[in-house]
């Protein structure tokens, strides 16, 4: 029983990281995903900031799920999310001004990230706090992973660096368009293509297997 529920929790956790990955599968939160992923550090910072906001607000939404009337639930969720975004805003300023400048307005815009409101409404408001936190953590890490996949590729191609460390010699001519807005779309498109191809291959394999068993 305990093992079973643990396995289910883990499944739920992995859901956000892989099967329901917010960036590559649900294609949610594209605004920050395209805008701030010019470097791996920015992408990770944005991902962790979003994760923090999502985990905290889902915990609070879940704790309050019995006392919030349905008429005001959206207003309540937005206030709660905005609160934790403000907290993140202050914390990033205290940690690193450089990072704060780099992320710019996108920290404040976490408030309207549909991913977070979606989690609060679809999951946290119907589940006890632990399950909500578990799910939010998985989704948040999945989002961070997605952003990192974008940011790392763009930084390597567009600046010839990863985490600010130069990878190629001084003669490397960076592919500047990759750190400009169009690069975000190129890289996202390439990743989506890869994931769609993987999914199609898996489906084909499952269909072949299923056909074999059925016959």
């Amino acid at each position: 029983m305990n093992d079973l529920s643990q396995a289910r929790n883990f499944d739920e956790f992995m859901e956000g990281i892989w099967r329901q990955n917010p960036v590559f599968v649900m294609v949610l939160g594209m605004c920050p995903a395209l805008a701030v992923t010019v470097s791996a550090v920015n992408a990770l910072a944005m991902g962790f900031a979003t994760t923090f906001v999502m985990v905290c607000s889902c915990a609070l939404v879940s704790l309050m799920r019995r006392i919030v009337p349905k008429e005001v639930r959206i207003a309540t969720y937005i206030v709660i999310i905005a609160t934790f975004v403000t907290v993140v805003d202050y914390v990033i300023q205290a940690v690193s001004l450089e990072l704060y400048e780099a992320l710019g307005a996108f920290i404040q815009l976490i408030v309207v990230n549909c991913l977070i409101l979606g989690r609060a409404e679809a999951h946290a408001s119907r589940h006890p706090p632990l399950a909500a936190v578990n799910n939010a953590l998985g989704m948040g890490l999945g989002f961070s992973l997605g952003l990192f996949a974008l940011g790392a590729v763009r930084e390597i191609l567009g600046a010839g660096k990863l985490f600010g460390v130069a990878l190629f010699g001084a003669n490397f001519q960076p592919w500047v368009v990759m750190v400009l807005p169009p690069g975000g779309f190129f890289v996202l498109g390439a990743w989506l293509l890869l994931f769609a191809a993987l999914k199609r291959r898996k489906e084909a394999r499952l269909a072949a297997q299923g056909g074999g068993h059925g016959a």
Binding site: M64, P69, V79, I80, V87, V95, V176, V179
Partner: protein
């Protein structure tokens, strides 16, 4: 006769809605105030550090600095009410407390939003000796070359900002010129492909220096030694 089932099953009374919103707002307000109080010191220290780092970068000999204000009546240490027409600047001192240079901020519109810079001024040669970025949103890989392009930075080894004879303005306006057409020491050779950003740097320095230097230079003796 399905009308009754269309009405909301149980409408929540307004007082309960208000109570919930009030409770949520109170909790959220407390969290925000707590976070603000908790991070205030660290954030202020961060801002001060970032400023110091930029000042020390444009004036390499500097080891400490004081904040000053230049007013039409003269200069005075910063603090108190800043009247209209005052310009903030930083006096930087070396290890022995001798004036190493002056740093001041300037801003001008670049390609995307304002480019805010901090430049170092040496009273000895009456020239700009370097600049650093405070904030900019210029295009990565193009406009942000202004802090990495060696040929561009060479413009600021000794950029001429001498005052005119009656000390009322700069003798020559600092200006960014098209790449390759610099002929005078007060001109800035723009980066090819990043002309707009290069011009913004020139304009930021010019605007700020025109404001500050006529007020500052006649009083420079006050700043020679660091006040303890």
């Amino acid at each position: 006769m399905s009308a009754p089932s269309l009405s909301p099953p149980q409408a929540t009374p307004a007082t309960s809605l208000l109570k919930t919103l009030g409770l949520v707002s109170t909790v959220c307000g407390l969290i925000i105030v707590g976070a603000y109080q908790g991070t205030y010191d660290a954030a202020a220290a961060n801002r001060r550090l970032a400023l110091e780092r930029t000042v020390f970068k444009v004036i390499p000999a500097a080891k400490s600095m004081n904040e000053w204000q230049a007013t039409p009546q003269g200069i005075r240490p910063a603090g108190g009410e800043a009247a209209a027409g005052t310009v903030k600047f930083y006096a930087a001192y070396d290890v022995e407390g001798r004036l190493a240079g002056i740093a001041a901020e300037g801003a001008a519109r670049g390609y995307a939003d304002a480019v805010r810079i901090l430049y170092g001024y040496s009273p000895a040669c009456q020239c700009i000796t370097g600049f650093g970025l405070v904030a900019s949103k210029e295009t990565p890989g193009i406009g942000d070359k202004i802090v990495t392009d060696k040929a561009f930075l060479a413009n600021f080894a000794a950029l001429d900002v001498k005052l005119n004879a009656d000390l009322s303005a700069l003798a020559n306006e600092v200006k960014a010129v098209k790449h390759g057409s610099k002929t005078n020491p007060w001109q800035i050779d723009a980066i090819a492909g990043a002309t707009v950003t290069s011009r913004a740097v020139g304009k930021a320095i010019n605007d700020s220096a025109q404001q500050l230097l006529p007020k500052l230079l006649p009083q420079i003796e006050q700043l020679r030694k660091k006040e303890s």
